[in-house]
Amino acid sequence: MSTKEQREHIELLQGTLDLLILRTLLLGPTHGHAIAKAIEFRSEDVLQVEQGSLYPALHRLIKRGWIAVQDGTSENNRRAKFYRLTARGRRQLEVETSKWDKLAGAIARILRPAETES
């Protein structure tokens, strides 16, 4: 069970959830539940998305034109909303990823100066 702090952490870091959604959709269009599951699974359950917060994030991305929504049929033959990455979203993902790498690197250097030096 992840701690409460971790969950808040995700919500507080603006744009982090957006980045994860974009990255998840890079693998192909899928529905909301699958996105939440994928994020949890791929982070080895460290990141527990408050599932509801997924929706404002999804719609923010739709509004910005980075992802699109369409009707589709799921694996067990049910109608569902499928979210997919747009071309603009793909570009945005690259930008966000490199930004994140820089940020993470910089924070890591500050937190563990000895490790980076050695």
């Binding site: 529905h31 909301g32 539940h33 939440a36 599951k37 408050e50 599932q51 509801g52 917060s53 929706y55 404002p56 999804l58 719609h59 923010r60 739709i62 509004k63 929504v69 049910r78 569902a80 909303k81």
Partner: protein, 876 residues
């Protein structure tokens, strides 16, 4: 919008889906179904809140904020009813004036005729070098030539001149209506469809004159027949001729002239055509003009041998867009309306300055409130929005009231415009129209933003820290201090400009009225009668008229009486005749065509036209050698430097070439001063007068010079004439000064309105000055208190306040004077014969504004002297 709605509908479904999947997962993990569902819901979080959050993504936050700002603004206004009332009234006057003038401008200048494809229509005008352009008439041959040989028009038609016709329906009084004579293809070319019955076609026009059928307007149909289809086939008397009504024109079509409502259309085919054409698609007006001029020149060469062609060859044809109606009304009022638009534009600018000043003072007073809001985390952007919302709200309220004012204002304008001569009668109906509405809304928005910018900017700059501590007394930087003054100075400048304009235009009007007209327009009553239906023989009528003149002169208050065909300014036309004088030789193309006027004895005395030499006609001239009186212009032309009295002059009918042929010479017995026959702007027109009793050429306009107000005598004169000539109707009674006024409608329009706007401008500047001074006094209460405590006298204090006012006044006056000099050429280009601006109007404007300023600064100055030092100091 639809995307937003679809998205919001989808959220529900998607969330339900999500929870279902999670529930299934939980069941797979071994939970009992019920528990699995609740676990899924817990995991998801607060469904309603999440829906709302997602929903917000798509909602219009700014709209809600706007509503908030509007509510807050309204609350502010309710709390300051005095301020709000002044502000709304100021704006209403500014915006109302603009709307009224623009609606007139729009109707006269821009509004399209309700015909098919109005943008294709052009009107034929012609122009001789150095003369104003004219719209005709064209000869039938000219019309046929262009109709048959042009390649640029898809259709060509024509209409006759403005005719007033006496129209009578059985069993009713005759009324005078506008009759338009039109060519057979007129309605077809304009693409009009009848309301009922049919419109006239080329088959209606017989080769020989009278067609016997007419089309009437929808308005006429409604007025007399209440839209009863039984109108078809009814007979009406038009100028005494029976005509059959065959159809009713479409309701929106009231003739091709803006402001002239045609009621009867009659097909005709003869000389004197005003040509209207439809351009072929793709042909420009310039191209068409080029072709038509070539065509016209070749026609002149073929058909006009000799001297006529020299003159005709100089004639240039111009094509004028006619989609908004024929050009004449536009030519007549266009410049005045542009001038008025400029004037009301300045007035609105003045109102904006005024409002900006008031709002600025108010936001200075609200500085603490603003600072608190910034302190509590309001963004600067929100504050600006708030301030702009308030100013737009004010301008919106001002617009609503302004539109109401404009409605009445337009009535006044139309009333002035309606007092023209009958043949130029203009009736404007300003109807609600989308374009007008857009203009008004646009003006409201622009005004609101314009005067809202400064206070909004001011609000942005208020920083929370220092303001919270201070009591709001001296928080202004020098910039805002001078900015406020600058606004007042700008108002003074604009009002100086407007009031100077008023003085100039009023001067101009009175100059036009007292122009050297060549006659005295005061104290003359004109009465026209119509003896045509009564069957008097001319010889008998002459005797009756002479008796009537004698009777009229016995009315107390009548000093002299005479009869004439027409009176000055009414348009005593030039005929197709010219004069030949003994001992004067000239080339045929230089011959003058004088106005010919048949008058009774005492005409010159009655109208106050001076007889410069010789003597007047008399009743004894009848049966004796023919006599004439010539105007000074004729004398100058034929007898330069010679006394014309006793000389002989002959009238020759053109094109009859025989000089001294059968026409009998007249002996010149008098020389009269020049008068303006048509318009005040005209140069004196050569005129020759004959004795109507000698020539047995009776006319029906009785002219009476009175010793009291002529309008007041109208009733008595009417009664006397009615008793004397029982069966002869009096058709028109008016005074000569009304007739003169009817020719200077544009001048009167400009003068009357700018008078109103000038007063308004001065009042606004006064309000602005008062507002700023009062605000400053309130703000400086402490300072004044300290000064008084330190021994300043009340004189010192009022000097302090008045000196402040005087500074702004002087600065404003200097700028205003510069504006006046800058605007001088503009005004001169828009007003005919405007006298160069002298210092007089500017000085009088300065004095007027100074008086207003003094009056308005008196109250704040007095209040300043009443400051109680103890109270003022205790506040700090």
């Amino acid at each position: 919008m639809s995307r937003r709605k679809r998205m919001m509908d989808d959220i529900d479904q998607d969330i339900r889906d999500f929870i279902e999947r999670e529930t299934r997962d939980n069941i797979e993990r071994g939970m009992p179904p019920e528990e699995a569902h609740y676990a899924a819901l817990r995991r998801f979080g607060n469904v309603t809140r999440i829906k709302e959050e997602t929903w917000e993504m798509w909602s219009l936050v700014w709209l809600e904020q706007l509503c908030q700002d509007v509510r807050y603004g309204l609350r502010q206004f309710r709390r300051n009813p005095g301020f709000t009332a002044v502000a709304v009234l100021t704006l209403a006057l500014g915006i109302g004036a603009n709307t009224a003038v623009f609606s007139l401008f729009y109707t006269v200048m821009l509004h399209k005729l309700s015909v098919a494809r109005p943008e294709e229509l052009v009107e034929f005008l012609y122009k001789y070098p150095g003369q104003p352009r004219s719209d005709g008439p064209w000869k039938w041959g000219e019309y046929e030539n262009i109709r048959d040989h042009n390649h640029v028009f898809s259709a060509l038609t024509g209409t006759g001149f403005d005719n007033l016709a006496r129209v009578r329906i059985d069993g009713a009084e005759p009324e005078t209506l506008i009759l338009e004579s039109v060519l057979g293809n007129y309605f077809e070319v304009l693409g009009l469809k009848p309301s009922i019955g049919r419109l006239t076609t080329p088959q209606d026009v017989p080769a020989s004159g009278d067609a016997g059928v007419v089309v009437v307007s929808w308005d006429y149909w409604n007025r007399w027949f209440h839209c009863d289809p039984a109108i078809l086939g009814k007979r009406i008397l038009v100028n005494g001729n029976p005509e059959t009504i065959v159809g009713v024109a479409p309701r929106p079509y009231t003739g091709p002239r803006v402001g002239n409502r045609t009621d009867v259309w009659e097909p005709y085919q003869k000389d004197a055509v005003r040509m209207l054409a439809r351009l072929k698609p793709g042909v420009t007006r310039r191209q068409a003009e080029a072709e038509i001029n070539v065509l016209y020149q070749s026609w002149v060469d073929q058909n006009n041998p000799g001297h006529e062609s020299t003159r005709l060859r100089q004639k240039r044809v111009e094509l004028e867009p006619a989609g908004a109606g024929l050009a004449r009304v536009r030519d007549l009022y266009g410049k005045s309306l542009v001038l008025l638009l400029a004037v009301v534009g300045f007035l609105l600018l003045l109102a904006c300055f005024n409002m900006a000043g008031m709002l600025l003072a108010r936001s200075a007073a609200r500085q603490r409130e603003l600072a608190v809001r910034v302190g509590l985390g309001a963004s600067r952007g929100r504050l600006v929005c708030q301030m702009l919302t308030e100013s737009v709200l004010l301008s919106g309220a001002g617009t609503l009231l302004g539109v109401l004012l404009a409605y009445f204002g337009t009535g006044v304008l139309v009333h002035i415009m309606a007092s023209t001569q009958a043949h130029q009668h203009v009736e404007i109906q300003a109807k609600p129209d989308l374009n007008l509405l857009l203009f008004t809304v646009g003006i409201a928005l622009v005004t609101g933003l314009l005067f809202g910018v400064a206070p909004a900017w001011y609000a942005v700059r208020s920083s929370p820290g220092p303001m919270m501590r201070r009591t709001g007394t001296a928080g202004d930087t020098w910039f805002w201090h001078w900015f406020g003054r600058g606004l007042v100075a700008a108002q003074v400048a604009l009002s100086v400009f407007l009031v100077t304009g008023t003085a100039v235009f009023l001067n101009h009007l009175s100059r036009m009225r007292n122009f050297d007209l060549g006659f005295r327009s005061d104290h003359v009553l004109l009465v026209t009668i119509d003896p045509s239906d009564t069957g008097y023989k001319p010889e008998k009528l002459a005797v009756v008229y002479q008796q009537l003149l004698a009777r009229l002169k016995t009315i107390p208050g009548v000093r002299s009486a005479s009869i004439s065909g027409c009176t000055p300014i009414e348009g005593c036309g030039s005929g197709s005749r010219f004069l030949i004088a003994e001992g004067h030789v000239e080339a045929p193309e230089q011959r003058q065509r004088p106005a010919i006027s048949f008058v009774s004895p005492e005409y010159f005395e009655t109208l106050g036209i001076p007889l410069l030499a010789g003597h007047d006609f008399s009743l004894r001239d009848v049966g004796r050698p023919r006599v004439a009186i010539i105007s000074n212009a004729v004398a100058r032309h034929f007898f330069p430097g010679v006394n014309p009295i006793g000389r002989h002059i002959t009238v020759v009918y053109d094109p009859q070439p025989s000089p001294f042929g059968d026409a009998q010479p007249y002996e010149i017995i008098g020389l009269a001063g020049d008068v303006k026959p048509w318009e005040l702007h005209d140069s004196p027109y050569p005129t020759i007068y004959f004795n109507m009793f000698q020539e047995n050429h009776l006319d029906d306009e009785f002219d009476l010079r009175t010793s009291t107000d002529p309008a007041a005598m109208a009733g008595t004169v009417r009664r006397v004439m009615g008793d004397f000539l029982k069966s002869v109707p009096v058709t028109r009674v008016k005074t000569l000064s009304e007739q003169v006024d009817s020719d200077i409608v544009p001048e009167r329009l400009v003068a009357t309105l700018s008078e109103f706007f000038g007063v308004l401008g001065a009042a606004l500047a006064g309000i602005g000055l008062y507002g700023l001074l009062a605000y400053n006094v309130a703000r400086r209460t402490n300072e004044i208190g300290v000064r008084m405590a330190l021994g300043a006298t009340t004189g010192d204090i009022s000097r302090l306040v008045l000196g402040d006012a005087a500074g702004m006044l002087c600065a404003g006056f200097v700028v205003g004077a510069c504006l006046v000099f800058w605007g001088r050429p503009l005004a001169a280009s828009l007003v005919l014969d405007l006298k160069p601006v002298s210092a007089g109007p500017l000085a009088s404007a300065g004095i007027a504004i100074a008086a207003v300023a003094l009056l308005t600064s008196f109250v704040p100055a007095r209040r300043a002297t009443r400051v109680d030092p103890m109270v003022a100091l205790r506040c700090e």
